[in-house]
Amino acid sequence: MPDPAKTTTVVGASVARKEGRDKVTGAARYIDDLVLPGMLFGATVRSTIQRGKIKQITFPSYINWSEFTIVTAQDIPGKNCIALILDDQPCLADGAVNHAEEPILLLAHENRHQLTKAVAAIQITYDELPALNTIEESESRQEIIWGENNTFKTFLVEKGDVDAVWSQAAHIVEAEYRTGAQEQLYIENNGIIAVHHPQDGVTIWGSLQCPYYVHKAMMKLFALPEDKVRVVQTETGGAFGGKEEYPSMLAGHAALLALKSGRPVKMIYDRAEDMAATTKRHPSRTRLRTAIDAHGKILGGEIEFVIDGGAYATLSSVVLSRGTIHAGGPYNWPSIRIRSRAMATNVPPHGAFRGFGAPQSLFALERHMDRLAQVVGISPTEIRRRNFLQPGQTTTTQQAVPNEVNLPLLLDRALELSNYEAKQQAAANQNKNPAISKKKALGIAAFLHGAGFTGSGERYLDSVAGVEALPDGTVRILVSSTEFGQGTNTVLCQIAAETLSLPYTSVSIAQPDTTAVPNSGPTVASRTIMVVGKLVHSACVGLLQTLRATQSLPDPATPEQFALACAEHVAKHGNLKSYARYQAPKDVFWDDEKYRGEAYATYAWAVYVAEVTVDLLTFSATVDNFVAVQEVGKVLHPILAQGQIIGGVAQGIGFALYEKVLWQHGRMRNNQMTNYIMPTSADLPPIHVHFEEFGNPHGAYGAKGIGELPMDGPAPAILNAISAATGHEFNSIPLLPEDLFAALNPMPENPPPSPQQQSPVPVGAPQ
């Protein structure tokens, strides 16, 4: 354990991003920048219907098919599935399809343009079956499309006697909240290059988050032992969860084409295919029923949290888990019952996206808190203050809140930095003037985000990290944790340099390659710096112990003494590597059956304030100012940490106000950047980032997870502000101008025909 009293020098400094120079010079090599000799390009033929049996596939004769490599499900050497949690998702449809865009056939050719024409030429006919498009249709079980009852997973969390509280309540408040699908929209589309060799097996290079997920999937798909599959991550141009599970699918496709053609195969999706066919954030519906006393104290409640998983199980069970555990937020629930379920629909499977279920359930809770305040007649700040979790109290899973947690401090800081009281008062005064069409208000969200895998997850992962010392006294970190913009390379190198008392420039990180690095787990779940960082720290401590034992390395040692000891050790023993394996902290216990206990080793905490203007002439809502106050343990790299928060807030603003997936017969209709709008440089407000520090004994140098946290708060803070500004309760996101207009100007369902206007056009109908 690092001595907290010791002043760090490398940790806590904003050192240069490790791969930053290559990124600003254009030298960084992403997957589409790589070319192998004799390489073919691959393409995918996809289902145009949602559900049905494949009747016939026709290859029209005007194309010379002998030029193409064609792969079907029959070409799969192992099991036709993408191995992840369940093995229910086929790599290629075999006889039946369960969602639009489901892959059916693969083609490879030397010429990309020929591929486009060939994909369009293939005719597939189906016996179509009825499809399910919504959570409600899936719940109705009008069709059974998955398992026995369309349900991928359910959870039940119970604390106290919730059935007893309703009779004691001064108020019972019920409401329903919804969130939509959201596209990750990394700027680099998914891409893979695969090689198959009869003796060496399968090699994959690609844009991906989790090399060992792809490794596991390829072993099963090709029925190969682990040493016959090699997965290498190339520079990755954004991921946000969108490259957690999908790359296993794309790697399988490229590798099958490589097997059949005997040549390297590159598959790079274009934007339209990436948006239509790959995973998005799970749409959700949350129903809350809350019992409160006359002062606004929560007595207990029931939460029903449901997500739309799409056609296959993929990661829905774990997304549901995180959403379920976060559903109670940072508040004290003396009693609660949370029931949750992930339902199947005939749309492309939804998947990981920053926040992973928590932004959905926290949106509902934080909107609901404002509703409770209204019912009681107190302010949104006061309702939160009266219910904040305090040290000694327990979360919904009965995890004790540590002594150092101080939520009122975060709230006070956020109110102070946003000048909340004065601005809220001024806005309220201005909103009374009917001549002013611009209505203003401030909205708050308080929330928490668990760092690391949920429950027993880190125990099952059993992660390993290593460091290798070279004879010149430089050190290389060996982990499968990946860099995709968030700063993995930089911060892990800081941790190693700090622990070894070396300059930052003396530490590098190996390219994630399953033949060269141990499995340090997937790069997800805000776990890398806290969990893997701690393992890197332990591996470095092990390295020092070895050198002190074998080479009499002094303590403390200068970098020169360290280099000398490394050189001598390597000369004698061949190499010098040190590994560390995850050990569950003694105070972390989780009951998988009852869903009770330490859901996460630690939580990050936050209070966000959004200042919003709603223009009742244009029906646009604009965020004018944003304050993000959070506690993420020790900030190891201030610029990167701020960058994570600002970037997450920007995605959260998009989630709330801009990003709307339009579905038509189970397909994304607006699968272009032209029609699916993410925030531009002109759209974002000033975002003020402030860190408090409560401390964390579990992370390297006291760090907690940070990446997902900022995704949770913006949407409810913004909708709270819009609701306060307009006096209308908005409970669904995304909330675009047309949605605002429709809500504030309700049209009668059957408008009476008027002589002037014979055919009224309903709002939102195609003109």
């Binding site: 240069a16 010079t25 254009g26 030298a27 700027i187 274009d270 701020q642 970037g647 272009q672 440089s681």
Partner: protein, 169 residues
């Protein structure tokens, strides 16, 4: 196959790229982006959307910022093209970075890096036209280049810092 499907024959097209005269043989309607990346191996220019929305493929064509995915290569004949690789030719061998590149590195302007070459070239053009842009001018100047990682604010700081450094060399 109809006549419309038949690509026009390749022709020789000459231009200057990063200070060097180049002649390539390409279909006149080939995208400048593909010619740069595939024929000239200048892979620092990235494709993000292929429809002129994201700006990752930005290059300077006679000093004007263009989306190279929307430029038929014939239109580039006789022009002077600057890609990210031409901004600081010595940088590839650990030499000095261009001040805009250095500012992006120092201020957190690059995260995943895929939008970075385009964003840096947009900044170079912005500062050429307006050496000391205020925040609204920076927002406007970069509004054709999308970034999903940073939320832009550290990019704005990078631009302001680069402007400051260029003003006081």
């Amino acid at each position: 196959m109809t006549a419309a499907d038949t690509p026009a024959p390749k022709q020789k097209i000459s231009f200057v790229v990063n200070g060097e005269a180049r002649t390539i043989s390409a279909h006149p309607m080939a995208r400048l982006l593909d010619v740069l990346r595939l024929d000239l191996q200048l892979t620092g220019t990235k494709e993000g959307c292929g429809e002129g929305e994201c700006g990752s493929c930005s290059v300077l064509l006679d000093g004007v910022l263009v989306n190279s995915c929307l430029v038929p290569v014939l239109q580039a004949a006789g022009t002077d093209i600057l890609t990210i690789e031409g901004l600081s030719p010595a940088a590839s061998s650990a030499g000095k970075l261009h001040p805009v590149q250095q500012a992006f590195l120092d201020c957190g302007g690059a995260q995943c890096g895929i939008c970075t070459p385009g964003m840096i070239l947009a900044t170079v053009q912005l500062l050429a036209k307006n050496p000391s842009p205020d925040l609204p001018a920076i927002r406007e100047g970069l509004s054709g280049n999308l970034c999903r990682c940073t939320g832009y604010l550290q990019i704005f700081q990078s631009v302001a810092e680069a402007a400051k450094r260029l003003a006081t060399p």
